[in-house]
C-alpha cells in the first residue's frame, strides 16, 4: 500500500495542549468564553461541539494564537508556554470553512507556501509538495488555479497546505460545513483516516453531532461560553452530564417518574430502582424504549406520527399524560397514526435527573 508508506513517512509529533483558565472577553465587554481548563492529549482528535455562538471558534482561535486569552489565561503546547507567541510562531496548521486558499497561486504554489516562507530549498520543497499532493490525491491538480477546483478538492488543498509544514497541532474550524452532504461524508472519512495515520494532535470545531461522534476521540460539548461536558462519544451519548447535553446530542425522551423505597413508578408500572429518590425526570433514548404487548408494557399511548426511515420506523407516541415520546420500531412495522401501543422501559438504561 503506497498510501500507508506515505503516511508513515508523514508521521507527526503528538504534542499535548493545555488550556489553563482561558477566558475571553471581547472589546465592548462581551464575554465569549468563561475561564476554561482543558487538557488535550498528544495525538488526540478533540472535537468542540455546540450550538452557534457558544464559543467554539473563540477557543480554537485562542489555541491558534489568533486571539489572546484574558489576563491570567495560559496556553501550553507540551511544556512550552505559547501564550505570548503570535500565530506565525506557533507552528499550527489551520483549515477554515471558507478554504481560505490564495487565489493568486496555483494548487502546488498554495501547498508550497509554508515551505517557501520557511526558506526550504527549492528541490526539497518540490519533493515535499509532490508527496503531500499524492497523499491527498491531488497530484493531477497541481497546476490548476483554485477557481478550477470543486469545494471538496479545495478543502483537500487546504489540508495539504496546512500539513506539509508538519505543524505541531492541526486546527479545523467547520471544515465540512460548506460542502454538500455526500461530499461531507467522504471527506470526513478521509480526514479521519488522515488524522489517525498522522498521529497529530487535532482540534476540530463543528456544530454537527454526527461529525463529532465519527471523528472525535473525545468531544467537548459547549454551551454559552462554558464547557458542558468532556468525554468520549459514548460517554456523551449515554451519560450526558445534564439536560442540555442530552438534548443536544441525538434524540432524548423525557419521562416523569416517582422513585420511592427502591421502586420507580412510571405510568401504571412499578419497576425495581436504585437511583435517586423522589420525583425524578427520566431521560431515555428512543432505541432504549421497546414496543411491547399490553400485558408486559409499562406505558400506554397513541401513535401520533410514524416516519419510515428504511432500516427503522420512527414513531411519535403520545402517552396519556406527559410529553410525546420518540420510539424506534422495526422498519417493516405496520404501525400508523392512531394505533394504540405499549412501551417497555429498561430501568438500567434510564438516566434520572432529580
Amino acid at each position: 500500500m503506497p498510501d500507508s508508506v506515505m503516511q508513515n513517512s508523514f508521521h507527526l509529533d503528538a504534542v499535548p495542549i493545555r488550556l489553563e483558565r482561558c477566558g475571553k472577553t471581547f472589546a465592548g465587554g462581551a464575554r465569549a468564553l468563561e475561564p476554561l481548563d482543558l487538557t488535550i492529549r498528544g495525538g488526540e482528535t478533540i472535537v468542540f461541539l455546540g450550538p452557534s455562538g457558544c464559543g467554539k471558534t473563540t477557543t480554537l482561535r485562542i489555541i491558534a494564537g489568533l486571539e489572546s486569552p484574558d489576563p491570567g489565561g495560559r496556553v501550553l503546547f507540551g511544556e512550552e508556554d505559547v501564550t505570548a507567541l503570535p500565530i506565525e510562531r506557533r507552528n499550527v496548521g489551520m483549515v477554515f470553512q471558507s478554504y481560505a486558499l490564495f487565489p493568486n497561486m496555483t494548487v502546488a504554489e498554495n501547498v508550497a507556501y509554508g515551505l517557501k516562507v520557511r526558506k526550504i530549498a527549492r528541490a526539497d520543497r518540490g519533493r515535499r509538495v509532490e508527496e503531500m499532493l499524492d497523499l491527498m490525491h491531488l497530484g493531477e491538480f497541481a497546476g490548476r488555479r483554485i477557481d478550477q477546483l470543486s469545494g471538496g478538492q479545495r478543502q483537500r488543498v487546504a489540508l495539504a497546505r496546512a500539513l506539509v509544514v508538519r505543524p505541531r497541532v492541526l486546527l479545523l474550524d467547520e471544515p465540512l460545513t460548506a460542502l454538500d452532504a455526500k461530499l461531507r461524508d467522504s471527506l470526513r472519512l478521509e480526514i479521519d483516516r488522515l488524522l489517525r495515520g498522522l498521529g497529530i494532535t487535532a482540534v476540530y470545531v463543528t456544530h454537527d453531532q454526527g461529525e463529532a461522534m465519527a471523528l472525535g476521540d473525545r468531544i467537548v460539548v459547549m454551551a454559552k461560553g462554558r464547557v458542558a461536558q468532556v468525554g468520549t462519544p459514548r460517554e456523551i451519548y449515554y451519560q450526558p452530564a445534564d439536560g442540555f447535553v442530552a438534548d443536544f446530542i441525538g434524540t432524548m425522551n423525557r419521562l416523569g417518574g416517582m422513585a420511592r423505597g427502591g421502586t420507580l413508578s412510571i405510568g401504571s408500572a412499578t419497576l425495581p430502582w436504585s437511583g435517586p429518590e423522589g420525583a425524578v425526570e427520566l431521560l431515555v433514548r428512543p432505541e432504549d424504549l421497546a414496543l411491547a404487548g399490553e400485558a408486559d408494557g409499562h406505558l400506554g399511548g397513541t401513535v401520533a406520527a410514524a416516519v419510515f426511515l428504511g432500516d427503522r420506523t420512527r414513531l411519535v407516541v403520545e402517552p396519556a399524560d406527559g410529553p410525546a415520546l420518540t420510539v424506534d420500531a422495526a422498519g417493516r412495522s405496520e404501525l400508523g397514526r392512531g394505533d394504540r401501543v405499549w412501551l417497555r422501559v429498561d430501568p438500567a438504561r434510564v438516566l434520572a435527573v432529580p
Binding site: 491558534a64 506565525e88 487565489p103 507556501y113 516562507v117 483554485i146 496546512a162
Partner: protein, 295 residues
C-alpha cells in the same frame, strides 16, 4: 435533464412552430429609433469635435506631417517628457501613500476616524486653481514652509513654482480618489486569507506582499490609471502656479492662445489624448487579466 429534453428536437411530435410575435419585423427599427438620440448626442458632442481636432492638427502648413514635426520641436518634446515623468511619479507616490493610509484606516477604528476620512477626501471638491493656490500658500514666496525655514535660519525655502510644487499639488488632489478606491477594496479582503498565511509562518511583511497586495492589485491598477490620466490632463494647478515647467496642457494653451498656432495645439491635444487613452487601455487589460487570475 428536463432542460435537455426541451432543447432536443422531439421526433414523435410534429415540431411546434415558433410563435410569431406581432410586429417582430419592426424590432430593429424601433431599436434604432430608441438609440437615435444617444447617437446624435455622441456624434455632435464627441465624434465631430474629435474629427475636427484631428483635421485641424493636419491643417497647418505642414499637413499631416505636423503630427511628427510638433514632436520634433524640442520645447514640445520636453513638455511631453516632463508631463509623462510628472504623472508617472505622482501616480506612484499617490498609490504608495493611499495604500498605506487606506489600509490603516480600514484596519483601525479610533475616535475621529470618520472625521479623518472626511478630511482626507475633502480635496475632491476643489478645482485645480484652488489646489494651486493652496500650494502657493504652503510653499510659495510668502508660504508657511518658507517662513519656518527662514525663522530657523536655513534660508527661505520656496518650491511652489517648480516641479516639486506641481508634484505636491497633484499628489494632494489625487490622494482622495485613490484612497477611496483602496478602502473599498480593502474592506472586501478576506481576513481568513491573512490568518491562513500567518498560520503558515508568514510575517506581517510577507502577508502584505503575498496576500494583501495581490488582492488589491486590480483596484490599484484602475485607480492608478485614473490618477495618471488626471495628472496628464490637469491644467488649473499648473496655470495658477505659473510654473516654469511647461506641462503639456499648458503648452497647448500657450500655442493656442498666445502663439495662435492652432494646428500645433490641435496636434498636441490629439497626442495627449492618445497617450492617456493608451495608458488607460493597458491598465485595464492588465487589471482584467489579473482579476481573472485571482478568480
Amino acid at each position: 435533464m428536463s432542460a435537455c429534453a426541451q432543447d432536443a428536437p422531439l421526433p414523435h411530435r410534429p415540431a411546434a412552430r415558433p410563435p410569431v410575435r406581432p410586429g417582430w419585423a419592426g424590432e430593429p427599427l424601433r431599436l434604432a429609433a430608441l438609440l437615435a438620440p444617444a447617437a446624435v448626442v455622441f456624434a455632435a458632442f464627441f465624434l465631430l469635435p474629435l474629427v475636427r481636432l484631428i483635421l485641424i492638427g493636419a491643417g497647418g502648413t505642414a499637413g499631416w506631417s505636423a503630427y511628427l514635426t510638433t514632436l520634433a520641436d524640442p520645447g514640445h518634446l520636453d513638455s511631453l517628457i516632463s508631463t509623462l515623468a510628472l504623472s508617472a511619479g505622482v501616480t506612484l507616490v499617490t498609490l504608495a501613500v493611499s495604500t498605506v493610509a487606506g489600509l490603516f484606516l480600514v484596519r483601525n477604528r479610533f475616535p475621529g476616524h470618520a472625521l479623518l476620512v472626511a478630511l482626507l477626501t475633502f480635496p475632491l471638491a476643489f478645482p485645480g486653481v484652488v489646489i494651486g493656490f493652496m500650494v502657493i500658500m504652503l510653499a510659495g514666496r510668502q508660504g508657511l514652509i518658507g517662513t519656518i525655514t527662514q525663522a530657523l535660519g536655513a534660508g527661505k525655502l520656496v518650491f511652489a513654482y517648480s516641479m516639486a510644487g506641481l508634484f505636491l499639488g497633484y499628489v494632494y488632489f489625487s490622494i482622495p480618489r485613490v484612497i477611496l478606491t483602496v478602502m473599498a477594496a480593502a474592506e472586501k479582503l478576506d481576513p481568513r486569507l491573512e490568518e491562513a498565511a500567518r498560520s503558515l509562518g508568514a510575517s506581517s511583511w510577507r502577508v502584505v506582499a503575498d496576500v494583501i497586495l495581490p488582492a488589491l492589485k486590480p483596484a490599484l491598477i484602475s485607480a492608478g490609471a485614473l490618477c495618471f490620466a488626471t495628472s496628464m490632463g490637469a491644467f488649473g494647478t499648473a496655470f495658477t502656479l505659473a510654473t516654469r515647467i511647461n506641462v503639456l496642457p499648458m503648452t497647448i494653451y500657450t500655442e493656442f492662445t498666445l502663439q495662435a498656432n492652432i494646428a500645433a495645439a490641435a496636434a498636441l491635444s490629439v497626442l495627449l489624448g492618445l497617450i492617456t487613452w493608451a495608458a488607460l487601455a493597458v491598465a485595464r487589460s492588465v487589471a482584467g487579466t489579473s482579476v481573472a487570475a485571482a478568480g
